[in-house]
Symmetry: C2
Subunit: 76 residues, 2 copies
């Protein structure tokens, strides 16, 4: 599953994942719930939150919409 990422890239993905998890928990949602709302696979979403997946733009936007937040809130 793990491709060869530079340490910086790993950090980038982890940062995004933590931010996503935070926003999700603020809403009191489980990964399962967010997966359902956004139409993403549960196990995949978990991987994103753990910083193991390089999620693409359209899915980032899907998540932002499900969380009812602006996409830029996922980048802080």
């Amino acid at each position: 599953m793990e491709t060869t990422l530079t340490p910086e890239q790993k950090t980038d993905l982890q940062k995004f994942g933590r931010r996503l998890a935070l926003l999700r928990k603020e809403r009191g949602w489980s990964q399962e719930r967010l997966a359902l709302e956004s139409g993403l696979a549960r196990s995949y979403l978990g991987g994103v939150e753990r910083g193991q997946r390089n999620i693409a733009l359209l899915n980032i936007l899907r998540l932002a919409r499900s969380l009812e937040c602006e996409p830029n809130e996922l980048f802080s």
Copy 2:
């Protein structure tokens, strides 16, 4: 290259692409220059700006760094 995207998704990609092109032009850079700076292929970058490519997180961050802007500036 065109996968079956909903009109909304096309709009999303186009919006991102236009925003990216704007930030690039503000710096007076050609696509070629930004491609060089970011390490992405010129034709690929062009495709992103035209909203034809669903760019993933790590490449979004590469572009933001090359443009010396915060990633969230790409989402407005």
